[in-house]
């Protein structure tokens, strides 16, 4: 018979070191156990979907940078794919390969950040997060080399990519994917994957069953950790992903630890894809010329990409004008977060933080 006490209400966030932005969990806590969680989002809402209706299709690309600012390339790519589908724009081969290279590099960068932040949530005193940052910086250096920006790249264009890669890019990329990153991943394996304390903290914490995962329409590492091999790059190939050989890493238990090792494994698979893409990289134009004020025919299109967080879908409706009539984003952060309440009830505060960290939300994308 436990001691009865009125649950204490604790605001975890919006200003909290571990809520990954301005996300707020109002947790009712009995001792250390969480009795109930009320999730409150919207602190970073910038009404991008509405603003987009006032801007041309090309002008909307920067919004997608600022949605998931840790995976700007993936956002760019998804949006451009949807508009291309709507307007029927053909993309040159070289642009497709460049898109794949940059999307996969972006996945590495985003997963580095996710892994580091997750270990930080487990309580490491910033060493893993600094290591992961170090490797993310290397990827961002390549972005800067190509498009001049590190975080909000604004690189993809409707019909291709903004710039062709500079001459020094391929040697730098070769050094990165064949030397620096594999070494870094070995370090992660030593520091993180085999760490007993991480196992104790993350094993059997925040478990998602396959039923819940599918019912809640989860995607990304969260879905794959539950044991379901589902990846849009295989299921609904875009950008010629069906030409590359890679595997989908899938977890056993659906817990936080599985999600972490899946992310590390996905980074390796990304390197594999990049190697193939670099080997086959064709010559030619990097962009189809399209009118500045693109007026796609009236209609609607939905296209989705496997962003680092999960299925990132863009639904565009055009009325034949230069701006989208309606623009909607299926943000994986928001949908993945919907299971947080079920996952955290009954856990301790520490576990709830670990669970939240393992979902890897991005509040910019969550609130848009």
């Amino acid at each position: 018979m436990p001691v009865k006490a009125a649950p204490v209400e604790v605001n975890i966030g919006p200003q909290h070191p571990s809520t990954h932005g301005v996300f707020r969990m109002v947790a009712k806590i009995d001792g250390e156990r969480i009795v109930d969680v009320n999730m409150i989002v919207g602190y970073l809402h910038r009404s991008m979907e509405k603003l987009a209706e006032e801007r041309t299709f090309t002008q909307n690309i920067p919004f997608t940078d600022r949605m998931d600012y840790l995976a700007a390339m993936s956002g760019n790519l998804g949006y451009c794919l949807s508009v291309e589908k709507l307007a029927g724009v053909e993309v040159p081969e070289r642009a497709m390969y460049l898109r794949v290279i940059f999307a996969e590099l972006q996945r590495v960068a985003s997963h580095c950040m996710a892994t580091g932040a997750f270990i930080n949530d487990c309580g490491a005193w910033q060493t893993p997060v600094m290591w992961c940052f170090r490797d993310r910086e290397r990827v961002l250096d390549l972005f800067e080399m190509t498009c001049g920006a590190r975080l909000t790249t604004n690189y993809m264009r409707i019909g291709g990519v903004a710039f062709d890669i500079p001459d020094e890019f391929l040697p730098a990329l070769d050094k990165l994917i064949n030397d620096e990153l594999p070494k870094a991943f070995e370090e992660y394996e030593e520091l993180i994957v085999g760490n007993e304390i991480i196992m104790m903290r993350a094993r059997d914490v925040g478990v998602v069953t396959p039923e819940v995962a599918i019912n809640a329409s989860l995607s990304g590492p969260l879905l794959r950790s539950a044991g379901i091999a589902w990846d849009l790059r295989k299921a609904d190939p875009y950008c010629g992903y069906d030409r590359f050989k890679f595997d989908i890493p899938v977890g056993y238990n659906g817990d936080a630890y599985d999600r972490m090792v899946i992310r590390i494994e996905e980074m390796k698979q990304s390197l594999r894809i990049i190697r193939q893409a670099v080997a086959d990289l064709p010559d030619g134009a990097h962009k189809t010329d399209i009118p500045l004020a693109l007026r796609p025919p009236a209609g609607e299109a939905y296209s989705r990409v496997e962003s680092p967080k999960g299925e990132l879908g863009f639904y565009v409706v055009s009325d034949g004008g230069p701006a989208p009539y309606r623009w909607h984003v299926r943000a994986p952060s928001l949908i993945n977060l919907s299971v947080l309440r079920e996952m955290t009830i009954g856990q301790t505060i520490s576990d709830a933080i670990v669970t939240l960290g393992s979902i890897d939300i991005n509040v910019g994308e969550l609130d848009r």
Binding site: M1, V3, K4
Partner: protein, 111 residues
């Protein structure tokens, strides 16, 4: 050793009076407080007062084996620790059943 100006002296009586004062405060706390833990505090105060007395005697009184006072003090501390553990466990157990630790509301045995 002695300062020529002023020599302060501490007598056994003074130590005993300090102990007695502490004991009286402890008794007052133990008798008057409403909260079970408050009462426990009074009891601990009384035990401390007893220890001061024991050690005062051990230091200043005539005895064949003055270390006995210390032995008793250590036993008192031991018993006090045991008593604190059990009493606090009791308080928590009572709280679980009655949702209060105020002794004037714990009246199961009244009728």
């Amino acid at each position: 050793m002695h300062s020529p100006v002023l020599t302060l002296v501490l007598h056994l009586e003074e130590v005993l009076i300090v102990g007695a004062a502490l004991f009286a405060i402890g008794l007052y706390v133990a008798l008057s407080k409403r909260n079970a833990i408050g009462i426990l505090m009074g009891i601990e105060l009384m035990l401390n007062a007893v220890n001061i007395t024991f050690l005062g005697f051990a230091r200043m009184s005539v005895s064949e084996d003055p270390i006995q006072g210390h032995v008793f003090a250590v036993f008192v501390i031991t018993v006090a620790a045991a008593e604190a553990a059990v009493a606090l466990a009791l308080a928590v157990a009572i709280y679980k059943h009655r949702e209060t630790v105020n002794i004037d509301q714990i009246d199961l045995l009244r009728w």
